[in-house]
Subunit: 183 residues, 6 copies
């Protein structure tokens, strides 16, 4: 029998020890040698059991030159990001009710930006030669990530192309290209 | 001075009357004479003041033949939908952590489907001649809607095309097409 | 060993499938051939495992001519009701602190009414020949129902008649009648 | 303009003083010279402004010989009661889903009993000569009270007698008696 | 396998009985024959299984003459206290952001005082000959207690004395005395 | 009239702009030229209006050689800390119920540590020559800080010395010293 409480096992508190509240490795640059030029090193409840029920997690984000964290949402968290190195063009888009307004900003080291609960957002390193490094906190032990390109055009199995054709106001060929590229 | 509590004014409870808990019009088909063939008639806190702090709202959804409610998320709500008339192909996609799996189903009248909190989902009427009608409840007085096509490709102002080109693994020309179509 | 999380087993998310988010049968009129002339077909977490932790459920309500959903409360939910067919006299009563005011309304198809969290409410079909049909959403995966007649006069075992005699300002004989009728 | 936050004004925290967290008078027996033989002296947010947002309140309950706190619910609170003097027959009834089971107990001084969130409950002093005194805490700054007799048979205006006749399985005359007695 | 839900086992609701909501003994003075002259008799979820998920617990506090409940916090609860007998000097201190202001009051029988969520507070019986008795409710099924003297100077193992020396602006010898006395 | 919602004014969402979600300066070392050798630069709702209702804030912590963030609690937040530079001895103490156990660890750059909700904790730079820098996230828009030395021995006005003498098991003279030093 497998049982999940908040998706995680609960430990007998009497058996908890310091290492249950500890993680390491956020000083080591992540591998950004991928198409998007992005790396996320996550310190959430999956790595730190003591975060269970504590509503918080941490992420180190590395961006290659021109690397990006593509448009995504966190279904269960607000995010606050602090830029440590480089420059970063960041933004979120408000909901349909607010007119899908873009709230964007070019960040320099020491700048902080908030991505409100559940809204679509992204980060992009506009520098052609220098990497960027940021640290983000999320208001959940495991906020989840919905990367739009993956969720819309890369789901398994794929969403019916007719749905996507109409949704994005495109011809069938372009949608098939999107599906192919993001599979 | 304008003050917002949960985004809404609170009324002196002593002055509340029956009409503050009432709305009408969910029996009248919405106008689906638009590109997507979709209409949403919303009964939320903006129409029913008595819903303030009550965590609930209702929507009537009309779908033209081949009409659709395109991929979107609700940043602050779970949704449960009941199909009243027609057929409806519905689905949601789990988060990146779960492998972006598509949970889809073809609904017939009287069928009910759940779109879990914050996840990307859609509804599509696959019938070429008959409309469809559904009723949805959301677990928020005002759950918000993030239509992906609008939020990613139709924000005001537009997200930097370089960001979108990389995010969707596309050439610049296709992205410009997407931006143009969804503006 | 039997373990309950929010009163329900939690499933390993990796094993979830589309049918865990699905239910059927809300298009079929319920059987109202009972003393009250009422039927409730519930789509809650007991029928849809995927509703666990999602804070929402749905109900189809059928009313025979002169049928009613008698005065009751939901200890863990707000309710929003939409009338689909017929007419319905609905109401809720505010708490003692507000003077037990009745907020009532005669609903026609397409009308929507809210029963605020935890308050006593009812629905009654005043039509002598036509049935009525409504759909309700509740802000809980399992909001619970406390039907007053059953809870006060039909508990097992019965509440001490002395308590009820005094509470309702009645003679012993009438209370015994109430106990007998609602047992 | 009148504005309510959680139904109460919020004070500038800098202006708070000790008296905002203080109340007096719970040592003085309440007046039980009424039909039910009950008195409730409440220390909630209406008396103690500092309770705002703190989710807690306190009540002193005095019971005349054969006095009772009649069947009622608290729409927004759990209650825990400690008997200080006398004897008290207490009970709550589980919801319809659990079969409306009565959980009752005869309390002696120093006994504690819990009335779970939103469930119907009562207290009755079975002693013909001695009063009883209890103290209760509620898990809300203002939990609300729905006294069943008042809410069902004493609302203003009255609920349609047809509704009540059917709900309680009674003849019209008995319902009119109930309405008259509890008006 | 041992599993904890909110730190407690959940029982199959169908097996619940009246005794799961019951505790006794709050009428018996606790033993205050200790250095602080204090006794706390707790009625929380560890004693009353039915409190699980109900967000409430109760405590009887006995104070010897000059006895005290030393400065402490409850990490998960607000507290409301009613003085039953004697006199009690009570107080809480606001946070650093509010200037660590002391909100203190001398209570007489029947007086009520609130200790807001998470703030440091204490109670002291200033009477040299008479005991005092109070009852407190906490807004948690198990609010936890952090007695400052124990947590800072009596932890197991001890906090590095250098940390404490600097924190309290003291010489090493005084800190060692504090550690020794509170071990 | 001054009104506070969660202690902060709510802005009309339509008027929000990117700068409402932005702060700067977390790249600049804080001034640790004080007795404790500590600096905290806070990015919370007081600096970033867009954090209102978002349940999150960020802090940069600078520690001089042998500097420390003295024992304290956050009444409304969990904290997760990442060490950026130097070494840091960190720890928290569990509640009385768990035996006041110390969970301590010596952190190196890239290490992460969690301080659970409401528990007493501290950080100390044991290095005699090198500073340390850390970043912490808190699960509240404004978690509050209760520095124990200030709250117990530095409140305004002071807590009655008799209370402290007994609480810390000390002679009057030592308590007066503590009060003097921490005033």
């Amino acid at each position: 029998m497998v049982l999940f409480v908040n998706g995680k096992f609960c430990k007998n508190p009497k058996l908890a020890k310091a290492d249950d509240f500890f993680a390491s490795g956020l000083n080591i640059p992540g591998n950004t040698n991928n198409r998007l030029g992005i790396s996320a090193i996550v310190a959430d409840v999956n790595k730190i059991p003591g975060l269970n029920t504590q509503g918080l997690s941490l992420v180190r984000l590395d961006y290659a030159p021109l690397g990006e964290n593509p448009p995504h949402t966190h279904p269960r968290a607000t995010e606050i990001l602090a830029l440590a190195e480089g420059t970063l063009y960041v933004g979120f888009v408000s909901s349909d009710e607010d007119g899908n307004r873009l709230f964007a900003k070019l960040l320099k080291p020491g700048n902080v930006y908030v991505f409100p609960f559940g809204l679509l957002h992204f980060q992009f390193n506009p520098n052609r030669t220098a990497p960027a490094v940021a640290f983000s906190a999320l208001s959940s032990q495991s906020g989840g990530t919905i990367t739009i390109a993956k969720s819309v055009f890369g789901s398994k199995p794929a969403i019916n192309p007719d749905v996507l054709t109409k949704a994005f106001h495109l011809d069938r060929k372009t949608v098939e290209l999107l599906l192919l590229k993001n599979a």
